[in-house]
């Protein structure tokens, strides 16, 4: 395997959730249920009493499901649907972690979104001429939202801040690319 292939795999692994906890949990549940069914079948063959339910009773209960009390069947059905939808969702969504890839020549680099956010916040605070406490940035997969609270009496040039943030972002060159959005609060803070 060439180095690039290894790096690509490592980066993919680092930026996406492996879903291993969920997979292991489902495997354990399936294992326990199947083992129990197996035990019940063997006990029935040996004509011993069942652990919980004999296999024949299981099948007849499933066949007679429409006669079972709706108070139990409906909530159980809803529960099963919810679990199923969650599992299908988990299986189909990419499971991205809050990280971005930085292009570097020699190593594979992965950066947490918070790191990008705090670097941007510092630049934005300087560009807006506000205290670092008054510039808050949140970075998601494709978007960086910069919230700036002006000092009362010092208007903020939103476009200048936006230009600075865009400039800074493009200098990082993170992948996937992030678009910036600057929001200046309506109300300022006195003496900040």
């Amino acid at each position: 395997m060439s180095r690039d292939t290894v790096y690509r795999r490592v980066l993919r692994r680092e930026t996406h959730s492996p879903r291993s906890v969920l997979a292991i949990a489902i495997a354990v549940v399936a294992f326990v249920v199947l083992a129990w069914v197996g035990v019940e079948v063997v006990l029935a063959i040996l004509n011993r009493g069942p652990l919980l339910v004999a296999p024949f009773d299981m099948f007849s209960a499933v066949v007679a499901l429409d006669q079972a009390p709706a108070g139990i069947v409906v909530p159980a059905g809803i529960g099963a649907v919810v679990v199923g939808v969650i599992l299908i969702g988990m299986a189909c969504t990419p499971g991205r972690r809050a990280r971005h890839v930085l292009p570097t020549e020699r190593v594979a680099t992965v950066v947490d979104n918070e790191v990008i956010a705090s670097a941007l916040a510092r630049r934005a605070a300087r560009a807006a001429n506000v205290d670092p406490d008054n510039a808050v940035v949140s970075v998601s997969h494709r978007r960086a939202v910069v919230d700036v609270v002006p000092t009362s009496g010092l208007p903020i040039d939103r476009d200048a801040v936006h230009a600075t943030v865009v400039d800074e972002l493009s200098s990082y060159g993170v992948r996937p690319t992030v678009t910036a959005r600057v929001r200046v609060a309506q109300a300022g803070r006195v003496g900040s």
Partner: protein, 117 residues
Amino acid sequence: MSTLPGRTRITSRALSRVATAGAADALGTDARRVRIRFEDEHGALAISVSGPMQLLSLDRVVQDPALVARTGGPLTDRVLHVQDDVSRRVSALTGFVVSSVTMRITSGDIQGERRVK
């Protein structure tokens, strides 16, 4: 803005001192008797001033009607003048955009017309 990185922060305490001194001067009273409050008004600075103002005694106005015009006109004109003065001083000293100055004259100091020394 300077090219050197860094930031100057004017705290509300410092702002308050500047505005108090300016307002006291404009009102012709002592800085200790002037109260200043700051509020934010859509990102600009709103100042509230409350304090006493020098007034003429009515006896003297009756004696000499021209005195009012000589000492800065009617009270409302003088208040407007003070308002403008406070706004200009604070802007000049701090560089802040002042959106409004609310004046509240809490009492009057009756004094005689001072002679030019």
